[in-house]
C-alpha cells in the first residue's frame, strides 16, 4: 500500500476553526454565528479577530438558523456553529423552511457528530444527521475525514452558492490529507487502488478504512479505498467505476446505517450496477457514555469490523 503520511493528530473541529479564520481574512461577506459553544467549535479565533462579524446568539439554535437565513438577504455568507445534534434535529423545520426551501446561502457547521463525542452520551451523539440533511432538496452534505480536509472544506463551501451541511467531530484523529490538497465538493478521493472490494468511507471512518486495508493486504486481499467526503451530491461516477472493477462493496460511516452514506451508495448501485454490499455503521440503536475508542469498538465501527465486512462482501460475490 502506498505510504500515507500521518502529519500529526488533530481534531477536525480545529480544522473548521482555522478555515473559518482564513475565510474571515479573505472574504468580507463571511459572518459567523454561534449558540454558546464558541470554544467547543473553535470559533474563538474568528470572534477575536472579527468581533463585528461574529454573532453570539445564546442557547437558541432555532433563532440562530433563522437569523442566518435572514442575513443572506443583502449578501452575507453566514456560518452557524453548534454541536451536530443542535445543528440538525433540534432545528430541522427551521432549516427546512427558512434555509433549504428559501434557498438561502447558509453554511450549517456541526461539531461533535457521532459516537466519538464520547462521555456526554447519547443525548449529544447524533447519528441521524446525515440522513436528515441529505433528504432536504438543494442541501449539500459534507463530512471530511481529518483536520486538513475539514479546513479545506470549510474554505471551499464559502464559494459554493447554496445551503451546506458541514459535519465534523471532537476527538484528535490522524491528520493525513495533504495540507495543500484542493477540496472539490462532490468529488470522491481515491486513497488506495485495489481490485477485490471497494471500501467507501466518510468522516472519521476513512482512517479506520485505511487501517482495515493494511490488515486486509496482509490477508492477501487488495481493497480499494475511497473517501466519500461529500455525501450529497454523491460522486456516482466514482462509485460505479470502482464497483465495476471490484464487484462488491463495504460502506463505513459514524452514523446510523438507516439514512446514511451507505444507503446513498446502495441506491446508486441498485439502479445501475447491483453488487453485494455490507454496511458498517450504527445499527438502529442509540449510543452511550464512554471513551470514543470504547464506543467505536462496542458499536461495530472499528477497523476489524470493516475487515470482517469486506470478507463477507467478497464471499457474496
Amino acid at each position: 500500500m502506498e505510504q500515507i503520511v500521518v502529519q500529526n493528530e488533530k481534531d477536525t473541529r480545529s480544522g473548521f476553526g482555522e478555515g473559518l479564520l482564513e475565510l474571515g481574512r479573505t472574504n468580507k461577506e463571511v459572518v459567523a454565528l454561534c449558540a454558546d459553544l464558541t470554544g467547543s467549535l473553535k470559533m474563538d479565533a474568528f470572534e477575536k479577530e472579527f468581533p463585528d462579524r461574529f454573532f453570539q446568539v445564546g442557547i437558541a439554535e432555532a433563532n440562530m438558523i433563522g437569523i442566518a437565513a435572514g442575513m443572506t438577504i443583502g449578501g452575507k455568507i453566514p456560518f452557524t456553529g453548534t454541536f451536530a445534534n443542535f445543528s440538525t434535529g433540534r432545528v430541522y423545520d427551521q432549516i427546512r423552511q427558512s434555509v433549504a426551501y428559501s434557498e438561502k446561502n447558509v453554511k450549517i457547521c456541526a461539531s461533535h457528530a457521532g459516537l466519538t463525542l464520547g462521555e456526554d452520551g447519547a443525548t449529544h451523539q447524533i447519528l441521524e444527521d446525515i440522513g436528515m440533511m441529505k433528504m432536504l432538496p438543494g442541501m449539500t452534505v459534507i463530512n471530511p475525514c481529518d483536520f486538513n480536509q475539514t479546513k479545506a472544506a470549510t474554505i471551499a463551501i464559502a464559494s459554493h452558492v447554496g445551503p451546506v451541511y458541514l459535519r465534523f467531530g471532537r476527538p484528535k484523529v490522524p491528520n493525513f490529507t495533504p495540507a495543500n490538497q484542493k477540496f472539490v465538493i462532490g468529488k470522491a478521493l481515491m486513497l488506495h487502488e485495489g481490485v477485490d472490494v471497494t471500501i467507501f468511507a466518510t468522516g472519521h471512518m476513512v482512517w479506520k478504512a485505511i487501517e482495515a486495508a493494511q490488515i486486509l493486504l496482509q490477508k492477501g486481499i487488495n481493497p480499494e479505498i475511497i473517501n466519500i467526503h461529500t455525501i450529497k451530491p454523491l460522486d456516482e461516477a466514482a462509485v460505479l467505476q470502482s464497483v465495476k472493477k471490484t464487484k462488491c462493496v463495504v460502506t463505513a460511516e459514524e452514523h446510523q446505517i438507516a439514512g446514511g452514506m451507505g444507503e446513498s451508495i446502495a441506491g446508486v448501485l441498485t439502479r445501475h450496477l447491483p453488487a453485494p454490499i455490507e454496511f458498517v455503521g450504527v445499527n438502529d440503536t442509540f449510543g452511550e457514555s464512554g471513551t470514543p475508542e470504547e464506543l467505536m469498538k462496542k458499536y461495530g465501527l472499528d477497523a476489524i469490523d470493516i475487515v470482517n465486512a469486506a470478507q463477507r462482501a467478497i464471499s457474496r460475490k
Binding site: V31, D52, R53, F55, V57, G58, A60, A62, N63, M64, I65, G66, I67, A68, A69, G70, M71, T72, I73, G74, G75, K76, P78, D93, Q94, R96, Q97, S98, Y101, S102, E103, K104
Partner: protein
C-alpha cells in the same frame, strides 16, 4: 386617502375572490390586515416594485411570518406593481407562483423568505436587519406576526436577541385579532399581558387600531422616528378578523375556511367599489 381606502376595499374583494375560486386559503386574518399592508406598501416603505431584488439593498424590506395570510400580501403586491394583477387568479393552483403559503422557489417578486411554519419570521427579520447595519444602510426592516404565533418558542428567542443586541432598525407588528384556528387565543393559550411581555423583553412597544388606515400610516411613520435609539420596536395592532365581511367578523371560524358561492356573493355585495380609478377585479 379616499383612494387608498377604496384600494383597501379592492384588496378585500381580491382576498374573497382568491380563496373562493380555489375553495381553500385563509380569508379571516387576511381581511383583518388589509389596512396594514396597504399602508406599508403604498405609504410607509421605501421600495421599488418594478425592480425587486432578493438582496433589497437600499430598500426597506418586509417579512410576513404568519404566512397563511398570503392572500392579502399577494393582492397588495400585485396592486402595488410587483407582478401582474391577473396572476392573482392562479392562487393555490398547480404551477402557480402564488403558493398557498409564501415561497421563494418560484421567484415571485416581493417575497424573500418562505413562511407558513410559524414562529420563524422574526429571526429572519433580525438577520436582515443585522445585514443592513453591516452594510451601513439607513433603511428599515418590517415584519408581521400573528398573535397565536406568539405561542411558538422561537419568537421569544428572537425577542431576547433583538433587545440584547439593540436591533433598532426593526419595526415588527403583531396582528392582535385574538383568534386562532381552534378558537379564541384566550381559550387556546392566553397571551396574558402582551404589551407588558414585549416591554419586559426590552422592546419599545406601540399600539394601534389596525383597521384605521390613517392611524396605521401615522403609527408606522412614528415608529420610524423611534428607530436608531437602541431598541427594537413592536406594534401591537388590534384588528378584527374577517373585517369588511359581516358574517366573517366576531368569530374564528373563517381563519382557514373559504366562503361558498352564495357566501362569496354576499361578501362581494358588501365590498362596494365606487370611484376607484385604474383598479377593478382581476
Amino acid at each position: 386617502m379616499e383612494n387608498l381606502k377604496l384600494l383597501c376595499t379592492q384588496v378585500r374583494r381580491d382576498i374573497v375572490r382568491m380563496v373562493s375560486a380555489v375553495q381553500s386559503g385563509h380569508p379571516g386574518g387576511s381581511l383583518g390586515c388589509v389596512e396594514y399592508f396597504v399602508a406599508l406598501y403604498f405609504k410607509v416603505m421605501k421600495h421599488d416594485p418594478k425592480n425587486f431584488t432578493m438582496d433589497g439593498k437600499g430598500d426597506d424590506v418586509f417579512f410576513l411570518s404568519n404566512g397563511h395570510i398570503s392572500p392579502v400580501w399577494y393582492s397588495v403586491l400585485a396592486r402595488n406593481g410587483y407582478f401582474p394583477v391577473s396572476e392573482l387568479a392562479t392562487f393555490r393552483k398547480l404551477d402557480s407562483r402564488l403558493q398557498g403559503h409564501p415561497a421563494t422557489a418560484e421567484h415571485l417578486e416581493g417575497i424573500r423568505m418562505a413562511s407558513g411554519s410559524l414562529g420563524q419570521g422574526l429571526s429572519a427579520a433580525i438577520g436582515a436587519a443585522i445585514t443592513k447595519k453591516l452594510n451601513k444602510e439607513n433603511t428599515y426592516v418590517f415584519s408581521l406576526h400573528g398573535d397565536g404565533e406568539l405561542q411558538e418558542g422561537q419568537i421569544w428567542e428572537a425577542a431576547m436577541y433583538a433587545a440584547h443586541n439593540k436591533i433598532d432598525n426593526l419595526i415588527s407588528t403583531i396582528d392582535y385579532n385574538g383568534r386562532q384556528i381552534d378558537g379564541d387565543v384566550d381559550n387556546v393559550l392566553s397571551l396574558g399581558d402582551i404589551k407588558g411581555k414585549w416591554h419586559a423583553f426590552g422592546w419599545q412597544v406601540l399600539e394601534m387600531d389596525g383597521n384605521n388606515l390613517e392611524e396605521v400610516i401615522n403609527t408606522l411613520n412614528h415608529a420610524k422616528t423611534l428607530t436608531g435609539k437602541g431598541k427594537p420596536i413592536m406594534i401591537i395592532m388590534k384588528t378584527e378578523m374577517g373585517m369588511g365581511v359581516d358574517y366573517m367578523m366576531g368569530t374564528h371560524k373563517w381563519h382557514g375556511s373559504p366562503p361558498n358561492k352564495e357566501q362569496t356573493e354576499k361578501a362581494l355585495a358588501q365590498l362596494i367599489l365606487d370611484g376607484l380609478e385604474e383598479q377593478g377585479d382581476y
